[in-house]
Symmetry: C2
Subunit: 500 residues, 2 copies
Amino acid sequence: MDQLRVRIVGIGTHLQPVVFLRSDSSVCRSEGLATQTRVSLIYEGRELTATLNIVTDHLVNEGEIGLSDAAVNALGVQEGDVVSLQHAPAVESLHHVRSKLYGHALGRQAMQDIVADVVAGHYSDIHLAAFVTACAGSRLDEREITYLTDAMVRSGRRLTWDHPQVVDKHCLGGLPGNRTTPIVVAIVAACGLVMPKSSSRAITSPAGTADTVETMMPVQLTTAHMQSVVETEGACMVWGGAVSLSPADDLLIRVERALDLDSEGQMVASVLSKKIAAGSTHVLIDIPVGPTAKVRSHAQANRLGSVLCHVGEALGLHVQIHISEGSQPVGRGIGPALEAQDVLAVLRRQADAPDDLKQRALDLAAIILEMGGAAVPGQGRELAQRTLEGGQALDKFMAIAQAQGGFHEPPVAGFHHDIVAQRDGVVAYMNNRFLSRLAKLAGAPADAAAGLSMHVRLGERVSRGDVLVTIHAQAQGQLDYALEFFNQHPHEVRVESEFV
Amino acid sequence: MDQLRVRIVGIGTHLQPVVFLRSDSSVCRSEGLATQTRVSLIYEGRELTATLNIVTDHLVNEGEIGLSDAAVNALGVQEGDVVSLQHAPAVESLHHVRSKLYGHALGRQAMQDIVADVVAGHYSDIHLAAFVTACAGSRLDEREITYLTDAMVRSGRRLTWDHPQVVDKHCLGGLPGNRTTPIVVAIVAACGLVMPKSSSRAITSPAGTADTVETMMPVQLTTAHMQSVVETEGACMVWGGAVSLSPADDLLIRVERALDLDSEGQMVASVLSKKIAAGSTHVLIDIPVGPTAKVRSHAQANRLGSVLCHVGEALGLHVQIHISEGSQPVGRGIGPALEAQDVLAVLRRQADAPDDLKQRALDLAAIILEMGGAAVPGQGRELAQRTLEGGQALDKFMAIAQAQGGFHEPPVAGFHHDIVAQRDGVVAYMNNRFLSRLAKLAGAPADAAAGLSMHVRLGERVSRGDVLVTIHAQAQGQLDYALEFFNQHPHEVRVESEFV
C-alpha cells in the first residue's frame, strides 16, 4: 500500500473519478500501474475506486497523486492530504454480468451484488455500459426486474410516512412537454391526499419534471426539509437524486443517456424503485402511446403495464396504469422553463393556457383522487376540475413553492429563431423524437431556458410564413447548431397541401 | 467553428482521445460545452472525435486546447498548432446498435456503418462497450457474423500475395502456454509453403503469440518489410496491429479485455477478418476443449467450428477445424518470455523440451502440410517430424528472425517465488483461468518476463515441499500481489491424497 500526497488538478470528469500519476514515479514502476488501470484510494476509512491516467508532464510530481473533481468530492480530501493507493480488487460481481450475457438469468443475490458495486463506484464506464446493455431491450424477465428493483431500493435511503396511504404518479416519458405533474400534485394535495413527489431529471428527453420545477422553486432539498414540506403541505416536488432515493438509478441513467437508450427492465426498475424508496403505497403510471412516443403501440403499453403491476405487487406497491394519447407534444413549450410557463398558465387559469395539458392533468388527478379515496368512483374528475378552477390548486402550488424555499418565474432565453411554414397547407406530421433532439441541440435541459415553443398542432391549417416552431437558446452557437440540424431534416415537421 | 492553439498536456489516456478546455473559456460558454461532451477537432483535413474534459486549473489557458497523447498522435499535431473545434456530429450508426438491442438483426450496411464509425474513433468507450455487449454471447447469427467479418476486413488494409495458396493457422485461446505457432510456421515454411503469419497480442490471456514472438525478434513491421520477409523466407511472424489488418478488431478487443469477455460472434469475426485481410486462402483453426479452457465441451467446439467454416466459406476462405485436448496448460511457461523459452527448447531439440508442446505443434503442422499440398494425405506428420528433428525448422526460424530485424534471447524476470506442495499426493486439478489470472497479476503480458513456470502436470505424484509453480515478476509489488491472490484461492491448483 503506497502513500501519496493529494494534488487537486482541477479536472472535471463528471461522476467517473480519475486520478493522475507520473509515468516515472516509483509507485507506477513498483506496482506495474498503467493508464486505464483501476486503483483503490483510501483516506480516513473511506475507499474509492478510480481510473488511473499516466501523465508525463508537470501535472503532478513524484510522491503526489492528482485527483479529478469527482475523486476529490467522493473521498472528501483536500490538497496535501495523504491517501493510500493500491490495485483495485477484481470486481467480483462482473461475472454475474458476463453470465447474463451467456443467457443465464440474474438471481436476487447477483442483482444485489451488482447494484452494490455500482453504487460503491467499482464499475468503470465500460462496465456500466456492459451491464446496461446486457439488460436492454426485453432481456430481463419479471423476476429479474423485481430483483433489480428491490436491489435499487436497498441501494439508498428509504423514506417512511405516518400515513396509511401515500399516492404518487409517473409518466413513462417520450412525449415532449407533457408536464402534468406539478398541476396534478397541486390538485391532489389541495384535496387532502399525501403526495411526496420526487422526480428525476431528464434521461434522454429535453426536460425532466425536476428540471422544469427547478425553474420555479428549489428542488434539491435535504430529506429533513422534504419531510417538513410534506408535513405542512401534504406534498412536495423535489429532485429524487438529492434525497438519495435509489442512487444506483442515477449512475445507470448517466450511461443510458450516453447511449440514448431506455431498456424496459431498467425503466420499470427505475420508476418503481424510486416510488418504493419514497414510501409510496399507490402509484398511477401514465403511458402515452403514439408512433413517435417512447411506447408506440397499445400492445406494448399493455405489456409494459402488466410488468409494472406485477413487479409492483411483488414488492408491496399498488400500481394502476393509464394509457393516453401520445401522437404529438403536449402544451406549447419543450424544455424546462418553456414547459414551466405552460404549467403556470394552467394553474393561473390564463385564457391562453394550453387546454390539452389541462385536460391531461385533470384526467390523472381524477384517477388519483379516486385511488386515494378523496373522491368516490366516478366523481374524481369533477372534484379535480373544481379544485383547479377554484384556484385552490394554484394556492397549494405556491404554498409548496414557499415551503421549498420560494417561488420565482422561469427564465427566458437570450436567443431565438422562428421556423415558418414554406407553403399553405395542413400540419400533417410531427416526429416527437426529432423535436426532443432539436430542443436538446438548442441546449435543453442544461440551459433551462432553452428549447422549443410549438405554435401549431397536428391537423391545423397554416399559411405560408406562419410560425410553426420557435427555437430558444442561451448561445448563438447552440441556436445555429439546432437550426442546422432542422435544415438537414426538413420532413420531420411537415406541412402538406390540403386536397379538397 | 472555433480556432484553438494546441497544448500537449502529457496525459496518456490509451486509445481514447481526450481534450481539455478551461471552464471559463469563451468557447465553452458560447458552444455550451460540458465535461463528457463529444467534440470534433480538425487539423489539415484530418478529423478526430474526442471526449471533452473541463478543467478549472492551470492546465490550459484561454484560447488553448489541451490534447491527450492519443489525440496528439491521431491528429498529428504539435504544440502551438491551431485546430478547429466543433460539436461532434451525432453518431448515426448508434441507432443500429440500439436496434440490435431491441432484437433486430444487423444488416450488411448497418455493420459497415458501425465498424466504419468505430475505426474513425466516433465511438466513446461507453458506445464501444454497448456494441460489444450487444453482440456478446450467441447474439449474432451466422449472417450477422459474416457481415461483421466482412466489415472488419474492409476497415483496414488487405494484403495480396503472388501465390495461389497462402496457409495460416489460429488457436482459439484459453489454454495457457499453448504457443505452437512459431514452431508450426518454422516447419511449414521450411517445407516450402507460404505462411505470412500475423498474430494478435493478448486479449484476456497472459500472452498472445505476438507478445511471445516479440521477446525473440521485432514483430512491429511495416507492411513493406513484412512482404519482403515473406518473399525471401516464405513466412513471417508479425503483430497484425502494426500492418493495419482489421484495425476495428484492436479497438473492440480493448473493450472486451476490460470486460474480460470474449463473445462468439466477435471471436469468429476477429479471427477470420485477420486471416482474410492477411490474404490467406487456407486456414487451420485449433480449438482446445477442456473444463477450464475457453471452449468447454466438444458440442460447443463443433458448433463454433461450424460457424467458422460457414462464415469463412461465405467470404471465400477455406477453413479446417482441429479439436484438441485442453484440460491443462501446455509446456512449462505462462507469459511471453517464459513461453518463448519453451518454443526455443523444442526448436533446438533440447532434452528438456516440453513434449506436449512439441506433439501439438507437429499435429498442426501435419494438417497444414497436407492442406497446402506439401505432403500427400497421411504423410504430413512424418514430414513435419523430419523437418523439426533435422534442424531445418530451427534454421528457418532463425532466418525469419534475421529477416525481421534480428534474433535475441527472451528476457528473465528479476523476482520469483516458488509455490510448493503442502502434502504428499497427486496433482488432481488445475484451473486454467485461475493460472492465467495469476500470471496477469504477476505482470504478464505488459512485463514480458513475468508469468508462471509450471513444474508439474495433471496426475503427477508429488511430495510435500516439491515446487508446483514458480511466479516470475519484474517488481516486488506485483509478486506480492500475485502471491496474495494465490493464497486467497488455495484450491485452484490442487494436490489430493492418493487412495490406493
